[in-house]
Amino acid sequence: MSNNKTEVVKNFKEKTIIVSREFDAPIEKVWQAYTDSSILDQWWGPSPWRAETKKMNFKAGGYWLYAMVGPEGQKHWARMNYIAIDHLKGYDIEDVFCDEEGNLNSDLPVSRGRMSFSRTSDGTRVEFKMTYATETDVQKIVDMGFEQGITVCLDQLEQLLKKQVVTS
């Protein structure tokens, strides 16, 4: 397992969440892993969830239509619109929740984001900055991650709560 740490910074005031991580691989490979749907399907869904691509067109104006498939086969459809692409440097996206055909589901938050790639001494750093329309949307996204993350980290949460109980 990698020693690279995932950092998450949420800023309610600015309505942003920044997720960053370094990878021990050249920028070309990391870029490929983020932009080729057959590779995205292998890692974009946090286990036990998995991503399943329905359509991918990686170019400005194109989009990635995919489902997050849960352990019981439940599907959350999502569409990532590609607004602008700067090869090997980054790309701008719009994240929307949609139905199977890619039609927008307006009840759920839309975020805009930029995925930035940069070379490090021995690998690649990726920073994903997401901007939301409202503070509530920031919380919704965190909660949704909570739903997917909880399956892998209830133990850690309990540890955390345990500490909290002891100190409060």
Binding site: V19, R21, F23, Q42, W43, V152, V165
Partner: protein
């Protein structure tokens, strides 16, 4: 019966309720609207959360609002942790994919 934070977070509905009222206090009706279950069932969860002291009722005018308890819920700050963990899981998967990709060439 056990009434502590572990009891409180043991149930997915209660975890969801905590997430929902983390941003702002809400009335039981507003909370119940987020769920596909009877208001009675939601009330039961709220009662348990109250007994676990993770939430507190406060009367504002004619409405009762449920608030998260900031002290018990310093955890709210740490609520980012499951989100971070979700990304960490994805990135660990990506590490493996990248190792495969690198060995191809």
């Amino acid at each position: 019966m056990r009434r502590d934070v572990f009891q409180a977070i043991a149930d997915p509905t209660r975890r969801a309720i905590i997430g929902i009222i983390a941003m702002s206090a809400m009335t039981p009706n507003a909370i119940a609207e987020h769920f596909d279950m009877s208001r009675q069932a939601v009330s039961k969860h709220l009662k348990i959360l109250t007994e676990c002291q993770l939430v507190k009722q406060e009367q504002t005018g004619r409405e009762i609002y449920y608030h998260l308890q900031p002290k018990k819920m310093k955890v709210v700050a740490d609520f980012i942790e499951p989100y971070r963990q979700m990304w960490e899981t994805k990135f660990d998967q990506l590490d493996k994919v990248l190792t495969k990709l690198k060995s191809k060439k």
